[in-house]
Amino acid sequence: MSKKKNGSSGLGQLLIPLIALGILVLFNLFRDISFFSITMRVNNSGNIVLAGNLISIIDNASELAIIAMGMTLVTAACGGQDISVGAVAAISGAVLVKVLQGMGGITPVSLLLGFLAATLVTILFKLFNGTLVAVFRIQPMIATLILFSCGRSIAYWINGDATPQLYAPIIDSIGKTIPGIPIPTPIFAVLLMGLLLILLFRFTSLRLYTQSVGINQGAARLNGINPTTVKLISFVILGVCVSIAALLGVCRMHQLNHKNLLVDIEMDAILAVAIGGNSLGGGKFKLIGSILGAYIIQMLTTTLYAMNVNPVNIKAYKAIVIILIVVAGSPVIKRGLTALWKKLRTNKAQTEGVN
């Protein structure tokens, strides 16, 4: 009985995002069933790949899903969000390209070194944010506003105004597909990052620490937890997420454009965390919720494109749907629904009693 109760309460948080996803799927089923068709086709590089709206949704949501995971941790520990992820991703991409240029060519080795360097730099920038938040107790929104405003300028200083083009088989393998594997590589990146975090939660008690700090920092401290360390760790993990997302973004576009790389992703990432039923005030969290949130946002975008909505209007339509999802998940509506559910159940019990 106790286990069962746990199951349903665990699902409670995911109820709204699952319903939202279900409605989106149903809507597309009735609108145009071919939306879901998946075909095999030969792409520009001559590889056989899977194609279709579903694949492109899951593929295109990868950067968002990865950053949303990191954002979930920062949100849980600090009770606030990092709005500089897009700007720092541009820095990360710039470092990556600078290393590639410095090493004189794109080879798997230079790409790996470039990625490691970029990750290191990204983590340092995230630690800057983390220090402002955890040590100086600055509101996360304000602390991360600094890099949000100047991050893309820093990326510009690293690489100049050029938008370096990157063409090499390895770039295609990361941004599109690996020859012989029909599934886009970014999808594997999401799986990998998710797996890494699951293992991290499995083999350390970071989850318990993070939730404790997010719920009641004072009590956590009195139980020997160092809140500063826990918050810094969440920023380091976000740094890794941002660096991976930047790599995917650069490889996908075959170029580094410091103005456009993962632009506006911070707001979508925060939204993904919220749609996933996680409290933006910190505390308990579910990674899978945020990942679902990322896919919902992407599915919405793709659906609107498939309906030939003018790209100028897409943001407005997206806003309307998101208002509905967020309001449906709000405490007021949730309380109302719970009350309604209880009433229905007692009514049912009463009628059963009468019968």
């Binding site: 009985m1 106790s2 286990k3 109760k5 746990n6 309460s9 499995r202 083999f203 350390t204 008690s205 970071l206 318990l208 620490y209 939730q211 404790s212 719920i215 009641n216 004072g218 009590a219 956590a220 401290r221 009195l222 139980n223 020997g224 937890i225 160092n226 505390g283 308990k284």
Partner: protein
């Protein structure tokens, strides 16, 4: 209204859902009198003040103010001010970035045009007449806390107040500042202002007050002239015991042997919140810190655990020098601490009972050695059964448990770490009688098994029943230590009141 009386409150009642905060309370304030309002936590002092200042609406009773015909109806703090009741709160409620004059006159102008020059002149006159060492054009934040407090009083006095309420005005002041404030209070008294003085510092009451009204559990205990109420009797009245019937309660007492070796020793330990003190506890001993609210008992044990910033002192654990500056150090040295404020410092509200139980053990084991789910479930089951914690399941969030059961979960959290020294600060506050007795028995059983325990409680009986040594604190200092035959209510109260000091 009788001559010389500025305020009468008769039959005041005020109830909150589930609590009767004030029940038929009378209060009388005379002209030119400093009247102390005394009582322990939850006695109803602040509720009475809030009824008087219009923050709360009374359920029943009447309030009469000199100069207002008939009953006064006070519905808001603004109204209270208009009929001459002013309040100066513990936290200064002025604007630190404005000048002294601006603070004194802000919000009091009738029209839109304000004559600051005139105000500054008047402010200077008032400050001078009250002997307050501040200039009108000075920024308030540049004045000391005591002077800021006095400016707040000056503002109140200038609004022609008849009744001045000072709510814990001295708690953040040092001794010199307190003396200065008292001089101001005496000056105002000479000018005929009636002052209600709320404080928990006993000695200060006897320094300035003329009369004392004592409340307990929302009821009036009595009104006394200071000279006729010795400190020890005041303490007895606040705690609800009359000195005559201090019949000795049966002590369960400690049965287990107390070892000769100290488990924990501190010399001149001090923290940001408490003055240096010495302390030790032996293996299997139960001792306690006692004293009135604000006496510094909680601050002392917080210093032992490293909960506040430790500023000095030498610590020995089982005779070996140790360094404890943060909770994690204390935990590694086998010390557990159940905090006074369960909601704020104890529970992680949204987490499950299970997570709350394993938290401290997990932290001691370190982040890289997580307790497996199966083990955590076993631990939780074990302690839910052992302490009879009433919860739907171990997955239930702790916040949906009753207060007593939450407390048991926190207790389980520390017992699971098998500490050699456990500090329990008010473990029985706000929980039902049955659970209280259970916790007391548990404390004695643990001591029998060799654990050292420091026990703090506002209820003296409880401490006498469980502790074999009591450390008595008053005004943030240790004023005595009681053992053996001295462990009686009368002796505890005498020591708290400062009648007899056994040793220092």
């Amino acid at each position: 209204m009788e001559d010389g009386i500025v305020l009468t409150m008769r039959g005041i009642c005020k109830a909150f859902p589930g609590v009767k905060a004030l029940n038929n309370v009378d209060f009388t304030l005379r002209k030119g009198e400093i009247h102390a309002l005394m009582g322990e936590n939850g006695a109803g002092k602040s509720t009475l003040i809030k009824v008087l200042t219009g923050v709360y609406e009374k359920d029943a009773g009447s309030i009469c103010i000199d100069g207002c015909p008939g009953e006064a109806h006070i519905h808001s703090p603004q109204q209270a001010q208009e009929i001459g009741i002013s309040t100066v709160y513990q936290e200064i409620t002025l604007c630190p970035n404005l000048t002294v004059a601006e603070n004194m006159f802000i919000g009091r102008g009738k029209g839109a045009i304000v004559h600051w020059k005139e105000y500054e002149k008047r402010a200077d006159e008032i400050l001078k007449s009250l002997g307050i060492p501040a200039r009108a054009n000075q920024e308030l934040s540049r004045c000391s806390l005591a002077v800021q407090q006095m400016v707040a009083i000056a503002r109140a006095v200038d609004m022609n107040c008849k009744v001045l309420i000072l709510d814990e005005p001295t708690s953040s002041l040092d001794d010199n500042e307190v003396a200065r404030l008292f001089q101001l209070m005496r000056d105002l008294k000479a000018k005929g202002v009636g002052i209600i003085f709320v404080t928990h510092f006993l000695e200060q009451v006897y320094q300035v007050s003329d009369r004392i009204t004592v409340l307990r559990n929302g009821e009036l205990v009595g009104e006394y002239v200071v000279e006729k109420l010795p400190q020890v009797e005041l303490v007895a009245k606040m705690m609800g015991k009359s000195l005559d019937d201090l019949a000795e309660l049966e002590r369960i007492g400690q049965k287990g042997a107390i070892s000769d070796n100290c488990v924990y020793e501190a010399a001149a330990l001090s923290s940001s919140e408490c003055r240096p003190f010495d302390f030790h506890i032996r293996g299997g001993e139960v001792n306690g810190f006692t004293g009135l609210l604000g006496s510094g008992r909680s601050e002392s044990v917080r210093a032992i655990f490293g909960a506040d910033r430790v500023t000095g002192g030498k610590i020995r654990i089982k005779g070996k020098a140790a360094r404890i500056t943060k909770p994690h150090d204390a935990m590694k040295n086998g010390i557990g601490y159940l905090p006074e404020d369960r909601k704020r410092d104890g529970i992680i509200a949204d987490l499950s009972v299970r997570d709350n139980i394993i938290l401290a053990l997990q932290v001691i084991q370190g982040m890289n050695h997580p307790i497996s789910r199966a083990k955590a479930e076993a631990f939780a089951d074990e302690y839910i059964a052992a302490l009879q914690i009433k919860t739907a399941s171990q997955d239930t969030p702790i916040k949906s448990l009753s207060g007593g059961n939450q407390q048991k979960v926190i207790l389980a959290r520390w017992l699971l770490t098998h500490p050699q020294y456990l500090i329990l600060d008010e473990p029985t506050r706000g929980i039902d009688v049955g659970t209280k007795a259970e916790i007391q028995k548990l404390v004695l059983k643990l001591a029998e098994e060799g654990m050292s325990i420091t026990f703090i409680s506002s209820e003296i009986e409880e401490m006498l029943r469980t502790c074999s040594r009591l450390i008595v604190m008053r005004d943030r200092k240790i004023v005595g230590e009681l053992t053996g035959d001295d462990l009686t209510q009368a002796q505890v109260m005498k020591t708290i009141a400062g009648g007899e000091q056994t040793d220092e």
